[in-house]
């Protein structure tokens, strides 16, 4: 006889299964960059190592779950009371030292195995030697945006990290040095590697060697204030040619197009230059992102929106439209100034 | 009532349990030790991390002060002994002496701080050293103040003739706290004036 709650259970269980199947594990195991940054779709050595380790751990914990879970289920089912009036008491058993010993020793062995495997992997990833061919990038976390400095190339990138493809024949891994300008952030691009925090007054390291070109998404993974959710990350894995071209462009000073001189004037006379740098102009502020090559980026404000002239104009008019609480103030420019400065910024290829 | 089954098995024996006052005081001391541990760790961790301002070299070792405080542990123990044996008069004297020694310690700390603030310009907000120094020593001093208040209350009871032999147990529980405050000073002293300087 099914009472109401039980019928409800049956119905819901069916519904839930249906939903699971419905949203089946799509795209989870695909190769190359995905719009869903699944940790089970690794595209770089640290991420793959972790993935393999995770399969092993799933096997062990899954085994424990099945064993112990079925013991619980069996006990609950087999030893349930049959009928209300069966009130005699079962035999009382108070314990057994041998049994206790057995179920202490087996878990100890499992822990030893798990621990050794884990330890091996910690050292393999964390203490991996840095090859000569590696690229160095210094990442600085700011409240709600990323700064990517390439010390040896003299580039100061923002929000979108460009790194070269690394294949077995020409390993060019990227070694990241992680710093923070204000509070704790965390660098996380799931397909490329685990996350590592950016801690003020502390230097952390992380490395990646992506094997498939394309754009990998991730985001800040440590709550860092109002706009933590919009501190997105994009990693562009370029083929060697693309990367060389990108480097070349980034090393140029800012385009100086006389057609937009009014805009440049607005930029340099308003407070913009206190916070932003545009190489080759009077603007050398360091509080906000470097705008020298603003137009080489696909997004603005660390992924808050796409980089189109309309969005740019709206962003300058009122950053809160896309990112309420970002540390750039609305500059109260009039429409003409807005148009001019947008036109100017739009030339910064 | 059938207490029979119960009575059968139970051997007649004295049923003693620990004193609840003592247990509670030990628990409190356990909790307090953790607080001190955290402050000590913060102190040690930050030794030499100050970016500017005075360094621990400006500290003078408060030898006399420490002697006063530590000897108060002895006097309070003598007081405990006295009350246990019902010698209320001598209890009162030792107890008062303990109070005075503790008070001298506080005054000594006050003088030390006065010098640090007005001569060396070290306040709690000057630099990391100032922050950690005043917090740790201040935390201890605040415990001394609490202890002194408790000592004073008992002193008042003694003066008004309310303390009797039966109160020995409670007084010993209170004295435990004072011993703890003294013991912590040894740690603070070692960390601040010996290791940290």
């Amino acid at each position: 006889m099914l009472t109401e709650p039980y019928r409800c259970v049956k119905w819901s269980a069916k519904g839930f299964l249906f939903l699971l199947v419905f949203f089946a594990w799509h795209a989870v195991f695909a190769e190359g960059p995905q719009s869903t940054p699944s940790i089970f779709a690794p595209a770089s050595t640290p991420a793959s190592n972790i993935y393999e380790l995770s399969l092993f751990v799933i096997a062990i914990t899954g085994g424990i779950f099945v064993t112990v879970g079925s013991l619980i289920a069996y006990a609950a089912f087999k030893y349930r009371q049959h009928g209300q009036d069966d009130t005699s008491e079962p035999a009382q058993i108070y314990g057994s030292a041998q049994v206790e010993l057995a179920w202490t020793v087996v878990p100890v062995l499992i822990v030893v195995v798990l621990f050794l495997t884990t330890a091996r992997m910690i050292f393999a990833i964390q203490d991996a030697p840095k090859p000569k061919s590696a690229l160095d990038v210094t990442v600085v976390g700011h409240q709600y945006w990323w700064e990517f400095n390439y010390p040896r190339l003299g580039i100061r990138g923002v929000n979108e990290l460009h790194v070269p493809l690394s294949d077995a024949n020409h390993p060019t891994p990227t070694f990241l040095t992680l710093l923070s300008a204000d509070v704790i952030h965390s660098f996380w691009v799931p397909q490329l590697s685990g996350k590592t925090d950016l801690v003020p007054n502390k230097i952390n390291y992380l490395w990646i060697d992506p094997r498939h070109p394309g754009t990998y998404v991730g985001q800040c993974a440590q709550f860092c204030g109002v706009e933590h959710a919009k501190m997105l990350l994009r990693v562009y894995v370029d083929t060697p040619d693309q990367f060389a071209a990108w480097v070349k462009n980034q090393q140029q000073p800012a385009v100086n197009d006389p057609k937009v001189a009014e805009g440049r004037h607005v930029f340099e006379t308003q407070a913009c230059m206190n916070c932003h740098t545009i190489a080759g102009t009077a603007a050398t502020g360091r509080f906000g992102p470097d705008l020298t090559h603003l137009m080489s980026r696909e997004t603005i404000a660390s992924g808050a929106t796409t980089n189109t002239p309309e969005h740019l104009r709206e962003w300058i008019r009122n950053p809160d439209t896309f990112k309420p609480g970002s540390l750039m103030p609305a500059m109260q420019l009039n429409d003409q100034q807005l148009d001019q400065v947008t036109a100017y910024l739009s030339t910064l290829k | 009532m059938s207490t029979l089954a119960v009575a059968q098995a139970e051997r007649e024996q004295a049923w003693v349990q620990p004193s609840k006052g003592r247990v509670a005081m030990f628990c409190l001391i356990l909790a307090e030790s953790t607080i001190f541990t955290i402050f000590v760790v913060a102190y040690v961790y930050n030794i030499g991390k100050s970016l500017y301002g005075p360094t621990p070299q400006i500290l003078e070792v408060p030898i006399w002060n420490s002697i006063f405080l530590l000897s108060s542990s002895l006097t309070i123990w003598l007081a405990e002994r006295a009350v246990e044996h019902g010698r209320i008069k001598s209890f009162g004297l030792w107890w008062a002496l303990t109070f005075v020694l503790g008070a001298i310690f506080l005054v000594g700390t006050g003088i030390e701080w006065h010098k640090l603030i007005y001569e060396d310009g070290l306040t709690i907000s000057t630099n990391l050293f100032g922050t950690t120094f005043y917090s740790l020593v201040g935390l201890h001093a605040s415990h001394v103040i609490l202890g002194l208040i408790a000592l004073f209350t008992v002193l008042m009871f003694t003066v008004t003739g309310h303390v009797r032999k039966e109160h020995a147990d409670r007084i010993q529980v209170l004295a435990l706290y004072w011993h703890f405050v003294d013991a912590v000073w040894i740690v603070v002293f070692t960390v601040v004036y010996v290791i940290g300087r």
Binding site: F16, A27, V68, S96, A119 | A24, I38, L128, T131
Partner: protein
């Protein structure tokens, strides 16, 4: 079920009471509750407080789930969202988790050890009211202090409150102040209550109640209280440092002046990790009473159970940095904390196995308390295994701060603790009020809650695997997280309905429930030898016990327990 009065010395009939309500009577009644030093009344106050905040925290959870139901929702502003999830976590851990412990312990420990009250009744009242005012202070910041509007004064820095985000430079309002002050106040309450539990259990035991005869419930609450003394105080110390920084211009966590962000993280987790075991051990304590009674068997391996609890408490003091695998420790440091963390699994496993062994060969009665405990066993197993998964440091680099962690800890906090709280309430409600909770509503409550629970929190694991970080007020539409979030939110609503059923049951059964009698579950510990509800002095005569299950001995004189000790 047996419903007789057992001839235990001291069992008294409760005086029948009819009351006519007038304003004067109401004031007298209120006054009675406010000034009470009776452990049972304080226990009830603690429980009501805990349940009230469970509802409040639950409403906050629902707000979170509405905001995340699909991408780009504008239901809550980013500021409010951050406050809501911070308050949700803080409320659930400190105002629900830390108070249910003392609700059960206050009510039951004296009864179980055969005492007339706690060791320090007035300290007990003080502890409760400190906790109470701490909670009020926290919520004042949210409701009275413009926390729901512009200026920031409600906590909005996660329940970890990582520095330097909490320093004046980055949190100019009063958010961290309210957070720290209110938790310091409740912390003092916790210290007082813990001392009381320990002193009661160690010093007020009735004759014959040796340490090895204490009900496991009492054992675990003693261990919990010790752990609380060691765990809450580091937090208090760190919060005092934070306030020194904020009010006196100190530099403990001021990274600009050479202070350290790391040291806060360490201090917080030195508190935070033992804290989660402080929360879970009393839940185990409840299971330790419910499972044997409903399986009709003595607990299997009593000494092992007690030892395992002590073991868990000990090991848990040395594992805190598993919350900090991504903060940049050395590889050796990481390795150490992997090992210590995994070791916790061994004593915990012992507990699970002993529970199963207790059920094994029994005659299990699936009344509502047992249903909740069975679900607890399953869920805690899964939660523990995801804990082991998280302790695998390299994998943790991926999973940390993702929804997988959220799933892990809700599995423990809800799937283990809240389930055990419910079990405990269904089990002891008859003792406290004299009436049974409705079994029918109880079954509805159970099944709805189990379903809601699994729909929500099973799904969250997937979100973590798919790379969704926590603490985000919204997410990008193209990430593929939307359908999963939708399912999670649905589960949240189902849980809410279940909780409403529960709340209704609590109130309804108080007036209409079946009269319970002294011992409705045919149980074995001393509290069931008193009338329901017990009189103010509990036992007219001090009881004397000869085994772990005094009532079993009386009910089964032919086969008493003390023969086997």
């Amino acid at each position: 079920m047996a419903d007789s009065t057992f001839p235990v010395p001291g069992a008294l009939e409760a005086a029948p009471h009819g009351r006519r309500w007038s304003q004067a009577a109401f004031l007298a009644w209120l006054h009675d509750w406010v000034v009470t030093v009776d452990h049972k009344k304080l226990g009830i106050l603690y429980m009501l407080y805990s349940i009230f905040f469970l509802l409040v925290g639950g409403v906050e959870a629902i707000l979170i789930r509405i905001q995340l139901v699909r991408p780009d929702m504008h239901f809550l502003s980013p500021w409010v969202f951050n406050r809501v999830f911070t308050m949700h976590g803080t409320t659930m851990v400190f105002l629900v988790g830390m108070t249910y412990i003392f609700g059960f312990a206050n009510y039951l420990v004296p009864l179980m050890v055969g005492a007339r009250d706690m060791a320090f009744p007035r300290l007990n009242a003080l502890s409760f009211w400190l906790t109470f005012f701490g909670g009020i202070l926290l919520y004042y910041s949210f409701i009275g202090g413009y926390g729901l509007y512009g200026a920031s004064s409600a906590p909005d820095t996660m329940w970890w409150a990582y520095s330097p985000l909490t320093e004046r430079a980055f949190s100019p309002g009063h958010a961290p102040d309210y957070w720290a002050l209110s938790l310091i106040v409740t912390g003092f309450g916790t210290i007082g209550a813990s001392i009381n539990v320990i002193a009661t259990a160690l010093c007020l035991r009735c004759k014959g109640m040796t340490l090895m005869r204490l009900p496991l419930f009492v054992w675990l609450n003693v261990v919990t209280s010790f752990l609380a003394l060691l765990a809450i105080t580091p937090l208090t110390a760190a919060q005092v440092m934070l306030l020194i920084d904020r009010y006196l211009g100190g530099h403990f966590f001021d990274t600009q002046a050479g202070g350290s962000a790391l040291i806060w993280a360490h201090f917080f987790w030195i508190f935070g990790h033992p804290e989660v075991y402080v929360l879970v051990l009393p839940a185990f304590a409840i299971a330790n009473e419910v499972i044997p009674v409903f399986s009709r068997k003595a607990i299997f391996g009593y000494p092992a159970m007690a030892a395992a609890s002590v073991g868990i408490a000990f090991v848990s003091l040395g594992v805190w940095a598993h919350h900090m695998f991504t903060i940049g420790m050395t590889s050796v440091g990481n390795t150490f904390f992997v090992l210590s963390t995994m070791l916790v699994g061994i004593p915990t496993g012992i507990k699970i196995f002993n529970w199963v062994a207790t059920m094994w060969g029994g005659k299990i009665r699936f009344a509502t308390p047992m249903l909740f405990c069975t679900a607890f066993l399953f869920q805690f197993l899964i939660a523990g295994l995801t804990g082991i998964i998280l302790s695998v440091a390299p994998w943790n680099w991926q999973l940390h701060n993702s929804y997988f962690v959220i799933a892990h800890f809700h599995y423990v906090l809800v799937g283990a603790i809240v389930f055990c709280i419910f079990a405990g309430i269904y089990y002891w409600y008859p003792k406290v009020t004299g009436r049974m909770l409705s079994e029918k509503l109880g079954k509805w409550h159970f099944w709805l809650f189990v379903i809601g629970f699994h729909v929500s929190f099973d799904t969250m694991h997937v979100l973590g695997i798919l790379g969704m970080p926590r603490s985000i007020f919204t997410y990008e539409a193209d990430r593929g997280w939307a359908p999963w979030n939708f399912v999670v939110s649905i589960g949240g609503f189902i849980q809410a309905i279940a909780v409403l059923v529960f709340a209704f049951n609590l109130v309804h059964s108080y007036f209409k429930g079946r009269v319970a009698g002294n011992d409705p579950w045919d149980a074995w510990t001393l509290e069931w030898a008193t009338p329901s509800p017990p009189p103010a002095y509990n036992f007219a005569e001090d009881p004397v016990v000869t085994s772990r299950r005094p009532l079993w001995d009386i009910k089964h004189p032919e086969d008493p327990d003390w023969r086997y000790e």
